[in-house]
Amino acid sequence: MEHKPFAITLDPASSLANHTGNWRTMRPIYVDHLPPCNQACSAGENIQGWLYEAEEGKYERAWRKIMEDNPFPAIHGRVCYHPCETACNRGQLDEAVSIHAVERFLGDYAIEQGWQIEAGEATGKRVLIIGAGPSGLSAAYHLSRMGHAVTIYEAGPKPGGMMRFGIPQYRLPRNIVDAEISRITAMGVSIHVDRKVDNLEIAIIEGKFDAVFLAIGAHLSKRIDIPGRDTGRIIDALGFLKKMEEKEVPKIGRRVVVYGGGDTAIDAARTAKRLGAEETLLIYRRDREHMPAHDFEVEEALEEGVLTRWLNMIRQIDENRITVEEMILDDKGYPQPTGRIKTLEADTIILAMGQKVDTRFLKDVPGLDISQDGVIQVDDTMMTGRLGVFAGGDMVPAERTVTVATGHGKKAARHIDAYLNGFHYGKPPSKSVAKFDRLNTWYYTDADKSQQPYLDLARRRASFEEVVGGLDAATALLEARRCLSCGNCFECDTCYGICPDNAIIKLGSGKRYEINLDYCKGCGMCAEECPAGAIDMIKEMR
């Protein structure tokens, strides 16, 4: 005290003694909301999560993150109808992130690098899976990661299901299918092909299986009643597409008519075009807007020269011609006859009227609830009415896509694992969705979507080469970086920079931030400015 200057009684002190945190009525907290892409993904991928890794060029980490949910990134990058991109918030800013293109890049890169996933520690439990399509293989993969011994019985000559016998090669090259399936067999999953199960109960006893997953898909083509249709020139679309996997390609003649409006109809028409049909005509009873097929596929078919007759119904099939009647849509969008009849020439008629499930092998299984078209009812654990028998994919009520089937496989695997261990799998509580209005889009730079290369038209019409090409590494990186990281911190330092009270502690790369509650006054600037909407303000409890 004696040595202080005149009129000075206190030692110099720091403002740190003044804990301004006690002014606060609201408190910022870091949160992770559910990005809309993740919410929309039928396979349950953490898309924002793997894009975050891909943004840094950490491709293996990104790929492994996909593989936690989906064993087929290279396949999905090609054939998934990407509901994630429809949901993507960036679509409201400029264009949605091309998620499928980045996924495809990662999938292809993984095949090139030979990355592999290991099976889990053996549990001694045995699971039988019937059907080696996307759903069965996905379940096998996840069960194998959980350490269960998996055996697949497949009725067909090769595994892959619709991925091999439904989707044409120009959309999904078979070497990709083979590569992604061989990763699963390398984990120890044994696939028995040409092994049709006639009686499930006997198969279970013979193989000493602890649980079963049914995933046979929907392979029976639906038939319709058209007079005169029992001629050799009428084939079903699935059978036609399946024949493409054999040595002898089907003979279809010069003029081909495809009847139907779904994706299978489009696939059949484009395949017929590639086989050299001079005229491929797609006939559908409603108009283009009401087609169940995805619009980009219709567009690609039209580009390749597939002709169309919307609002037409086939009334009769004779030796070299068909009779069609023009239709008109009523108020509810149902086609109604007009009485206007036309005759068309046709060498082959391909019927694509949808598929049903062949459930004859289940006739002796007690407790199953099978509807008329073969669809099997399951509970919310994917279990059928028979204890320990689960089902998924096209044979249960759901949208019939590779992605939904793959998601079923994962879901069923979790519940089968829980069943085998005698507990119930509880879904983690779902997070709130990071909608567009959470974002502060000021901070994002405008950037157009990267475009994938297309095969030129002449080659598309004449060959089964893949139509859509992949992104190169540099473009895939930029595309990944278009992700807005909705609802999840991606370490842009904005909160750290703009806090007037230095009350945000930067923890370093990959560790995000912390709020220093001793000094945070609760002004809310960090939450207001956060580009990704990853900070919430909550009421301070006192």
């Binding site: 807005l484 842009c492 230095n502």
Partner: protein, 335 residues
Amino acid sequence: MSYQRVKFYQTGTFTVGNRLLDEADRTVQARMDRTNSLNSGHRACQGCGEALGARYALDAVMRATRNQLVAVNATGCLEVFSSPYPESAWQIPWLHSLFGNAPAVASGVAAALRAKGKTDIRVVAQGGDGATVDIGFGCLSGMFERNDDVLYICYDNEAYMNTGVQRSGSTPARAWTNTTQAVGTEPGNILGVGKNLPRIAMAHGIPYVATASVADLHDLEAKVTKSMSIRGARYIHIHVPCPLGWKSDPAQTIKVARLAVESGLFPLIEAEWGVVTDRTCIRQQIPVEQYLALQGRFKHLFNPRDEPSLASIQAMADGNIHLYNLVPTKPAMES
């Protein structure tokens, strides 16, 4: 603007930092080792733009001078909230004398350092708009005229906030303050008054004059850093919203500042030797109403709508946009 913006697909162009950017392309504020010249525990209100602007500017100066800095502060909010006896929030050499004499004291500090041969130590003087455009203006003009080696930074919150929101020479047209009440036929501050200090500073022909905003950190840091590469009298005028005096939401301090820039009411420019050399273009132009509507001090313009006043304020923004070519018609400009 005097630097090339990093064009980054996700963020980084406008955010404080980005984990994917090179260190050199991030701001000083993104660094874990920033000075934090103004430390936690200061007593500024929630969401104070001035506290933020001061840390932005002085941290950038500290980095540019390798921590060789003396700061002189005028009286005002910044001084009061940072140094209640015996506490200090300053982590840099800092001195305060009077309301009106900060430029003169800074000139003296610079002269003393020169006399001692310590020319590597640089001097910054800082104050609010009251100390700068009104009370200390004579000393400031002298400091400019003598071309003393001082960077003077004005944190403009457009009124005397510390003493209870009284009008200053920088208060905008039609703004409510306690001395320009929103009553009568011409509510708020009257049209056609006040000073434009950046232009007055330019008229002195000093080496460097710039305006900056807490809404554009990259721009602000680039200007502060550039100013420290120059010797002689320099002036930077930083727009800092005051939630208390502007009656705005403390959470929206940056947003309010951003809309001032995007509307054209607060142009971001640079001038050397009295000549405008560059400006930061408006990215997404907005009508002034959007900026005014966020602030309670302009509430009387909207209930009922005061069309003539809104038109006059819009005309000011349009004048700035025209004068500085803030919305270039040619697409060649950087975004």
